[in-house]
């Protein structure tokens, strides 16, 4: 009666986690660095989803952005440059119970880690991958990254980067077995939150390309985008990122885009006049390698011993 569940005892959470429960050491990025905002968004999502800190693992490579795990009060793995994805997949492989977040930079993921990037997308294991794209190598002090715009002056290309830059959203969309690609910006916290939140709900690997400000080295590269929200049209759709109307209003351009339409996503991402943000593509039906890797996970010890005996028997003479 009155719509109460038959078992009407209240679902009292045995533990309730506050925002602070996810806060690790004091974050040490430059003032104004976009990384702070992403950290906050992740902490908020963990809190809102009430994921126990001990069941959460933040994995990263090396770079400014890869410091993120240190600032979370969860398990963390601050790996090697470029190797966040294989490590994260290994962690997830036999621990489907863990929630895995990956923090990686434009150098970490798209340069030294590129081979893993393409394959991790194929594996499509269940985790959120956050690409912090500041168009530069931050930690090592301003070298060209694959996303550095041609002509931008860096310490390794003082006359301007030479090779056409790579758009991680576009390139990821072209990878085999891709199942979730979104783009967002660090300077719009609600959009950032909503995007990461959607990613965290996705079953499979959700790749989130975050345009991230680095006031220290690339202070101006996103200035225009920031000042003129018309340049970052909002992708809208019932299956896309849902924004509070007040926030959505900030963006003068809305563009309806069905995230199940891969071809449309490909066209959308090629536009060079604007940088659309939102969910480009999602397909929950893509196979997840998690299924393969978890084979035998629940096997009882006696069964294992029996299997082992069989294997030994096979060689008996």
């Amino acid at each position: 009666m009155f719509g109460l569940k038959k078992d009407w005892s209240l679902d009292v959470l045995p533990r309730y986690f506050t925002f602070e429960d996810y806060e690790g050491g004091e974050a040490r990025w430059c003032p104004g660095c976009g990384d702070f905002g992403v950290l906050t968004a992740v902490q908020r999502i963990c809190r809102d989803k009430q994921i126990p800190p001990e069941k959460t693992v933040c994995v990263s490579g090396i770079g400014c952005s890869s410091r993120l795990p240190h600032y979370m009060h969860t398990y963390g793995f601050h790996g090697l440059h470029g190797r966040a994805l294989p490590i994260a997949c290994g962690i997830k492989s036999r621990r489907p119970d863990l929630t895995v977040w990956v923090a990686t930079g434009d150098g970490d993921c798209c340069s030294i880690g590129a081979g893993h990037w393409i394959h991790a997308i194929r594996y499509n294991m269940d985790m959120v991958v956050m690409l912090f794209d500041n168009n530069i190598y931050g930690l090592t002090k301003m070298q060209t990254s694959p996303t550095t715009r041609r002509g931008f002056r860096t310490n390794t290309h003082p006359e301007g980067a030479w090779i056409p830059h790579l758009d991680p959203t576009a390139v990821t969309l072209g990878f085999t077995n891709v199942s979730f690609v979104a783009r967002t910006v660090d300077w719009n916290p609600p959009h950032l939150y909503a995007t990461l939140q959607k990613a965290s709900e996705h079953r499979g690997m959700s790749f989130v390309h975050i345009l991230q400000r680095c006031p220290h080295f690339t202070g101006k590269v996103f200035e225009e985008l920031q000042q003129d929200p018309a340049l970052t049209p909002l992708l809208t759709h019932d299956d896309g990122i849902q924004l509070d109307p007040d926030v959505a209003k900030i963006f003068p351009n809305h563009q309806v885009h069905d995230p199940s339409d891969h071809g449309a996503a490909m066209q959308m991402v090629e536009r060079d006049d604007v940088v659309p943000i939102g969910l480009f593509f999602q397909d929950q039906s893509r196979p997840c390698y998690d299924e393969f890797m978890k084979q035998g996970l629940e096997m009882a010890t006696e069964d294992k011993l029996r299997g082992l005996e069989q294997a030994l028997d096979h060689f008996m003479i």
Binding site: G24, G25, P52, P53, E54, K55, V57, C58, V59, P69, H70, M72, H73, T74, Y75, G76, F77, H78, G79, L80, R83, L85, P86, I87, A88, C89, G90, I91, K92, S93, R94, R95, D97, L98, G115, H116, I118, H119, F292, M293, Q295, G296, L297, E298, M299, T301, D303, K304, L305, G307, L308, E309, Q310, A311, L312, H314, F315, M316, I317
Partner: protein, 651 residues
């Protein structure tokens, strides 16, 4: 006592006589018309694709079943499909079998069945044969339509005779034709049949093996192969003048299994309770993963084939960090790629088993061949000080057991462990006692109970450097693993004290492990003129060589190291009992007397174990090592020992 054919070049019509269920000789005991011998070395050499290895494997298996000691070595061509009748393309197998336990490939072969004459040249270069080795040689090439082939055959025959081999040309292919239209595919079973008669193997066992192997392909295939087997038996009995041999069986107490080293690694992985092998294919390590991929699910394990060796290592480290100690199996070039992540695993203390099945090196080198060249890279490959346990398997049994040991050390000492094996063990086949696996071999289920309050993630014991390890999921144990210098709390640190302390704690773990080890057993007396120190797959050959010299009254002993880092204790004391200490290894070294150059002499670069012993034990350490790409024979080692003893003026 060479085997002689009754009549040369006669394809007698062979009828089947050894009925199934009986030994090829028709009897189970040595009989009057049998020559009793202690051991024999047989080779089957052919073009790749002719099935020589399969025939040899069956021969080895039935010999083991009959209670003989067995050691088989595969002769592997380096190319997928080398052209036929090519010298480098020889594919084959050597089987050494006898009354005692066989521990190595032995010296020169007693008998060789060759399906063409060209494939023998590579073996000759490796000194596989000597005066008196009997060659049973396919004779069809003598009448080949191609005059070049006929010429090559004739030239080879001359060469063989010149070398003193006893050559019997036999029309094996012709004899097979009665049973198959494609003798290239069935001749191997015919050869097996011949060998079964010559060495009085139990034909029933052979037929059972054929059934087991070809069963999947249908009854017709089985029947055809069994018919060829029987034809071979009959052919040999009719064609060969000599009495067959009888090799008395051993007394074996334990039940035994027959397998190669890579299969043993696979069993070791399963017996250790390792759930994930994360690998990237590379010869000669891959077959271990093939084996596992087929059976792993029996124990709930999974093989992950990664996109490259770096990813394989990263995946394994992730898996281990999350509580499931993983294993990665590779060979030299793959180990090289894992260097950076291995350094991370040492630094952050991630338990992990890394198996390196060594091959000919450096670089791509000799992918299918035997070498022990990765010892120093395993110890010192990572920039900075990265102490870690390094073990080496000396036998096929070790491949299984040391894998289990490695997992235990990895977890107890919170460290990656490298286990070295090599191409010799990888494909060598031998009977070994069946291990009695109990539940405690398997890794325990991961601890998910709350982490003890106040214990930090690197709560190093000041003496041993050991610390308990929080596993993700353990409430209160949250920490961030990092390859940066860190404190006990795993916080990034930049100060001298933390850096020095971390280095010390990691180093102390090796000392702690060493304190649990016992001195290696001395093979031979504790005092003498010469002590040979070895490691890895040379064990059997070294001990056999030492036995021979000792049988001649020489004061020679040997020790074999399974732990290379840390080394087993007591070496200084052991070494002090001998006038000279030398290592024997399969790796490159300059001659100990140095290299002549411009009239003068430049000091030689020592072999790898010798280098380690000089550093860790000190004193004069002599060495002998070569890189032939194949295992050392007992005779080669024996000759070296005798030379060294002559230097010492004791012979």
């Amino acid at each position: 006592m060479p085997i002689r054919p009754v009549a040369k070049n006669t394809a007698s019509s062979v009828s089947m006589s050894a009925s199934p269920g009986t030994r090829a000789s028709g009897s189970a005991e040595a009989q009057a018309n049998q020559q009793v011998v202690e051991e024999r070395i047989v080779e089957i050499v052919a073009d790749s694709g002719e099935g020589a290895q399969k025939a040899g494997q069956i021969f080895g298996t039935i010999s083991a079943k009959m209670g003989n000691g067995v050691w088989t070595v595969e002769i592997i061509p380096a190319e997928i499909k080398p052209p036929s009748r090519s010298r480098a393309g020889a594919s084959g197998i050597r089987i050494r079998f006898g009354t005692k336990e066989m521990t190595n490939m032995g010296d020169e072969a007693d008998l060789v069945v060759a399906l063409n004459e060209q494939v023998l040249f590579g073996r000759m270069e490796q000194r596989a044969y000597h005066k008196g080795t009997v060659l049973l040689l396919e004779s069809k090439w003598r009448d080949d339509p191609d005059p070049k082939v006929r010429q090559a055959y004739a030239d080879a025959l001359e060469q063989f005779q010149h070398n003193g081999y006893t050559v019997h040309e036999m029309p094996m292919e012709q004899a097979c034709m009665e049973h198959t239209s494609n003798p290239r595919l069935g001749k191997n079973m015919f050869v097996l049949g011949m060998l079964c008669w010559i060495y009085q193997r139990d034909a029933t066992l052979a037929e059972q093996e054929i059934q087991a192997i070809f069963g999947r392909k249908g009854e017709k295939v089985v029947a055809m192969n069994q018919a060829l087997l029987r034809a071979g038996v009959a052919f040999a009995r009719e064609q060969l003048e000599e009495d067959p041999y009888y090799i008395p069986p051993m007394e074996v107490d334990a039940s035994r299994m027959v397998l190669n080293g890579n299969q043993a690694l696979g069993l070791g992985v399963m017996a250790a309770g390792i759930e994930v092998v994360s690998m990237y294919p590379i010869t000669p390590a891959t077959s271990a993963s093939h084996y596992l991929a087929g059976v792993y699910k029996k124990v709930g394990g999974v093989v992950h084939q990664a996109e490259d060796e770096i990813a394989a290592m990263g995946f394994a480290i992730g898996c281990s960090y999350a509580g499931k100690t993983a294993c990665t199996i590779t060979s030299g070039p793959g180990l090289a790629l894992k260097t950076e992540l291995l350094g991370l695993a040492v630094m952050a203390e991630v338990p992990l088993v890394i198996i390196d099945v060594q091959r000919g090196s450096p670089s791509t080198g000799l992918p299918t061949k035997v070498e022990q060249g990765d010892l120093l890279a395993a110890l010192y490959g990572e920039p900075g000080d990265a102490p870690k346990p390094v073990l080496a398997a000396a036998t096929i049994e070790d491949c299984l057991e040391l894998t289990v040991t490695a997992r235990k050390i990895a977890e107890a000492f919170r460290t990656p462990v490298i286990l070295l094996t090599d191409a010799n063990l990888a494909s060598g086949v031998q009977p070994i006692p069946r291990p009695q696996v109990t539940e405690d071999w398997l890794a325990p289920p991961i601890d998910q109970s709350p982490w003890q309050d106040g214990v930090c993630p690197y709560d190093w014991d000041a003496e041993t450097g050991l610390s308990p390890r929080p596993i993700p999921g353990q409430r209160g144990g949250e920490y961030v693993l990092t390859g940066l210098t860190h404190t006990r709390h795993s916080k990034v640190a930049y100060d001298s004290h933390s850096h020095q302390l971390g280095c010390e704690m990691r180093s102390r773990k090796l000392a702690a492990l060493r304190s649990t080890l016992t001195p290696p057993k001395i093979h031979g007396d504790e005092q003498g003129d010469l002590l040979v120190v070895g490691w890895g797959s040379t064990l059997g050959a070294i001990e056999e060589a030492v036995n021979r010299a000792r049988a001649e009254g020489q004061r020679v002993s040997s020790v074999h190291l399974r732990f290379l880092s840390p080394m087993e204790p007591g070496l200084k004391e052991i070494f002090s009992g001998f006038k000279r200490v030398m290592t024997v290894e399969i790796s490159y070294s300059d001659p100990p007397e140095g290299l002549t150059m411009g009239g003068g002499t430049q000091p030689g670069r020592p072999s790898q174990l010798a280098l380690l012993l000089r550093e860790q034990v000190g004193g004069e350490i002599d060495y002998w090592s070569i890189t032939p790409g194949h295992p050392l024979s007992p005779r080669q080692i024996y000759d070296v020992l005798m030379g060294r003893l002559a230097d010492l003026d004791v012979v």
